[in-house]
């Protein structure tokens, strides 16, 4: 049990170790991966035959794939047979009984972020239902959504309740063998979210995993599928600004978005998984495949992300712009402090006529972190009138960090207009001096300058999220200057 003297590192590591504890008598599977493990996962989830077959095929394809090594990140080799691929949510006995048992350092962070008291308990992994009843809130929302026909449930539930929809769309944006981590996810994914917005419906509220009752402990292999039918609109929020308690080190999630004719999906992420301590010990490996398919004419998919957590981030939310006049957007703030490594960016594949895309990426590196933007803009021969503008800026804080840019542009159509701009800068002594002489402390001055640097992205976030993101940025960069 945690004592007050334990620091954040040991707290998180302890939990991480517990995540791998294998007690066959309980609900976890032993570490290791073979077809039997996949059959067991599928059986426990009571999945129909097609899901099992799908998982097995993914597994067989995964066996033939090689782990990618092109990203600008370094980490010890992962032994995939050391991981337990199914562990049921922790029982309440294992959890801290109350906030008194939680590391004070973590609580201090919550305080700085202005997280309400009852939420702190949930985030710190305190057995939630005893403290805060989220069920009633969620039920209210669910009724409201059902009125307009929106389906919003866990992936497992969708497999049971809406197998036809799952079967129609699953893996159509991120195929099973898309990449190493996506294939692994397809084979063993634990759970995730499923959203279907019917024709012509504008989702009456912003959807967030937060309000899904069984969102807790979806595990390390999450899978999300969002379908916006013709003329519909949805805004989806993923993640949370507060540091999340998590037991698993490797996260390989997959997100698939489908926007049909005239539909719009806005997907916002705030990612703040445990980044490891200042020496790079511990921390989450976040290897995520996110892709949106603008399948119909005039559809639009917009990705906004604020990435401050994880020891290693490997993530490229992408858009396939297939429909005529479809629009793809990517707004990103990626912060890497201490020993964090981030290799993130986007892909915009222009396939339909008059498609357009916008990329705004802001990378901030501090401490000894490495932060890379990697992006692809591809204009296919048939994509007449394609338009892209990419702006990609890096801010360096300190002498030992790295900021890197790897943009790829592959243009196969002469009517395309593609522009790419990138700059790199640091917080200048002049800027700091100006703020200091106005009586602003150094830390506040840096926060102010950094927030200004990220403004273009923050304005794309839903209001409450934007406010939280700013606070998060300040906390993430704490101690980076001076």
């Amino acid at each position: 049990m945690a004592t007050e003297s334990e620091n954040l590192e040991s707290l998180v590591n302890r939990r991480y170790e517990h995540g791998f504890v294998t007690d066959i008598a309980t609900e976890s599977l032993p570490p290791g991966l073979d077809e039997d493990v996949i059959r067991a996962i599928s059986a426990r989830k009571n999945e129909p035959e097609f899901m099992l077959e799908w998982r097995l095929q993914a597994y067989r394809q995964w066996l033939e794939m090689r782990e990618p090594d092109w990203a600008h990140v370094h980490y010890p080799k992962i032994d995939y047979n050391e991981i337990s691929y199914f562990s049921a949510p922790k029982s309440d006995e294992d959890r801290p009984k109350s906030l008194d048992e939680v590391d004070p350092k973590l609580l201090e962070t919550y305080d700085k972020l202005g997280i309400p008291l009852h939420e702190r308990a949930r985030l710190a992994g305190v057995a939630v239902d005893a403290v805060f009843d989220s069920v009633s809130v969620a039920t209210t929302f669910k009724e409201k959504l059902a009125d307009v026909g929106v389906i919003f449930c866990s992936f497992s539930e969708a497999v049971q309740e809406h197998p036809a929809l799952v079967r129609k769309y699953l893996g159509t944006v991120v195929p099973r063998r898309d990449n190493f981590f996506a294939a692994l996810n397809a084979a063993v994914f634990s759970d995730g979210s499923f959203v279907y917005i019917p024709k012509g419906v504008r989702c009456p509220m912003e959807l967030s995993t937060y309000f899904r009752i069984n969102a807790a402990n979806t595990g390390q292999f999450e899978r999300t599928l969002i379908i916006a039918d013709e003329g519909s609109h949805v805004s989806y929020l993923e993640g949370c600004t507060a540091p999340m308690r998590d037991e698993n080190q490797l996260h390989a999630a997959v997100v698939e978005l489908v926007a049909l004719k005239d539909a719009e999906i806005k997907y916002s992420t705030v990612q703040n998984w445990y980044p490891g301590d200042e020496n790079g010990v511990g921390g989450i490996y976040n290897f995520v495949t996110k892709r949106g398919d603008c399948r119909g004419a005039n559809s639009k998919i917009s990705w906004t992300q604020v990435e401050t957590g994880s020891a290693i981030t490997w993530k490229y939310p992408s858009c396939l712009l297939r429909g005529e006049n479809s629009v793809g957007e990517f707004y990103s703030v990626a912060v890497a402090n201490n020993m964090q490594q981030a290799d993130t960016g986007t892909k915009m594949i222009h396939i339909g006529r008059n498609t357009s895309s916008t990329i705004v990426s802001k990378g901030i590196s501090a401490g000894r972190a490495e932060n890379a933007y990697r992006g692809l803009v591809r204009v296919m021969p048939q994509a007449h009138g394609a338009r892209n503008h990419t702006q990609c800026d890096s801010l360096l804080i300190g002498k030992q960090c790295g900021a890197h840019t790897f943009p790829y542009m592959e243009i196969k159509n002469p009517t395309a207009r593609v522009e790419h701009e990138a700059t790199t800068s640091k917080i200048s002594a002049d800027q700091l001096f100006y703020c200091r002489q106005r009586g602003i402390s150094e830390e506040d001055a840096v926060n102010m300058i950094v927030n200004g640097f990220c403004k273009e992205v923050f304005k794309e976030l839903p209001m409450e999220f934007a406010v939280e993101a700013q606070a998060l940025l300040n906390v993430s960069l704490e101690g980076a200057v001076g």
Partner: protein
């Protein structure tokens, strides 16, 4: 698509048949290294847009036929024509054979020339294509510049290929002493109806406070393949102004590596590539800023027409501690045909914080409004396109840093652009 591999056995037997000389150890080392690593394929990140199958294919055919070398004699008239057109002291490598200099090159006028057969240079390869070059190398050029040299020094790399497929190598090392100034011209040209692969390596070491201007012209036959590596290192407070013009060639791949490990160095390097039907021109540049302050600026421009593909990959690496670095990259492309493709990749890797780094890339076509403006002034469609295309290229032509070479560059660019635009209209007539 799987790329065939280079016949290392064939290569070994050709290398072993060469008469022993003072390059023998270097050849053997290069052969061993190449045998270990092989020729890069599309799976290598640095080669993902350029398929070296033609290099492998031509080389294998040539090796199977015994790896012979054609006499440079058939080229003498062409050599005279070219060296006569640009006023410079010319050094010539013809079909891989280093010819004797025709000017006094004993160092009296600041230019000292030696052959590898007399004084081998410490060859640095460790790159597959440089290995391939070194494994077959029989001779090379060592040039040393001291003081301010009035007349430009030209190096002509010329090849003829008739009958069977052929391969040639050229290797030149240029050392510029401290406080010296020189203008260099590097001219690649080829003729003949058979397949040919030319492989060149140029090393340029610029001494402290030296001032070097360099123009590179590549106007090979569109049947021919060339890969070239240029390694540059700059001394303290030295300056290098370089411009590269790729106007011909079938498959062309240029690698420029710039090493800035002394403070105060300043390099500008620009490039223009014009690609028409069937051409593939790939420029890879890499600048290593190891200390600051130092400045690097590059601007590449391309005009593409017909079924062709161009690649530009600019990489700037600012190493830890290289504060005061100013690195700029720009790449602009005009796509004139539906079948043309450009792959651009401006990369920055930055490990220091007091730096200024920026890159910009654009891809587009001729501006409709500018065309309309010219049409309202009475220019016909073809003429209007010519004017705008020329203007796009002229900027880089006018910046050719060696005066003596500028008119030649300008003439070839004009002729090439006329061809490209002609082809565009021919295409329109057919469709």
């Amino acid at each position: 698509m799987k790329q065939a591999s280079l016949s290392i056995e064939g290569l070994r037997s050709v290398v072993e048949a060469l008469p022993p000389d003072n390059l023998t150890p270097a050849r053997e080392a290069a052969l061993a290294h190449l045998g270990e690593h092989g020729i890069p394929t599309l799976r290598d990140e640095d080669w993902k847009y350029t398929d070296l199958s033609p290099v492998v294919d031509i080389s294998n055919r040539w090796l199977t036929a015994g790896g012979g070398r054609q006499s440079p004699d058939t080229l003498l008239a062409r050599i005279d024509e070219i060296t006569g057109s640009i006023d410079a002291n010319w050094l010539v490598v013809a079909n891989g054979v280093v010819l004797d200099p025709t000017f006094p090159a004993d160092g009296g006028n600041g230019v000292q020339v030696a052959k590898f057969s007399d004084a081998p240079a410490p060859l640095v390869f460790e790159r597959p294509l440089a290995d391939f070059n070194a494994a077959l190398l029989q001779d090379g050029l060592r040039v040393r510049i001291s003081g301010t040299v009035g007349k430009p020094v030209g190096i002509l790399l010329i090849d003829q290929s008739d009958g069977d497929a052929s391969v040639s190598q050229a290797w030149a090392e240029i050392d510029v002493d401290a406080n010296s100034a020189v203008e260099l011209i590097e001219y690649h040209v080829s003729q003949g109806n058979a397949d040919h692969y030319a492989n060149s390596v140029l090393t340029l070491n610029v001494g402290a406070n030296a001032d070097v201007r360099h123009v590179r012209i590549q106007n090979r036959s569109t049947r021919h393949v060339q890969t070239g590596r240029t390694s540059v290192s700059l001394g303290r407070d030295s300056r290098l102004d370089m411009a590269s013009y790729d106007l011909g060639g079938g498959l062309i791949r240029n690698d420029i590596d710039v090493d800035l490990s002394q403070p105060g160095a300043d390099i500008t390097f620009n490039g223009l590539y014009l690609a028409g039907e069937g051409q593939h021109i790939d420029n890879h540049t890499r600048v290593d800023h190891r200390v600051g302050p130092a400045t690097s600026a590059q601007e590449y421009r391309g005009i593409l027409n017909g079924n062709c593909r161009c690649v530009w990959n600019g990489k700037a690496i600012v190493h830890e501690g290289a504060d005061g670095t100013d690195a700029r990259q720009a790449n602009h492309n005009l796509l004139l045909s539906e079948k043309a493709e450009i792959d651009a990749k401006p990369e920055l890797e930055i490990y220091a914080d007091d730096v200024k780094c920026a890159h910009g890339t654009t891809v587009g076509q001729l501006d409709e409004r500018s065309l309309f403006y010219l049409r309202t002034r009475g220019l016909d469609k073809r003429h209007a396109r010519q004017v705008l295309t020329h203007a796009f290229a002229a900027d880089l032509v006018s910046r050719a840093p060696v005066d003596a070479a500028r008119s030649t560059v300008s003439a070839i660019v004009d002729a090439r652009l006329a061809d490209l635009i002609e082809a565009e209209f021919a295409e329109e007539l057919v469709s």
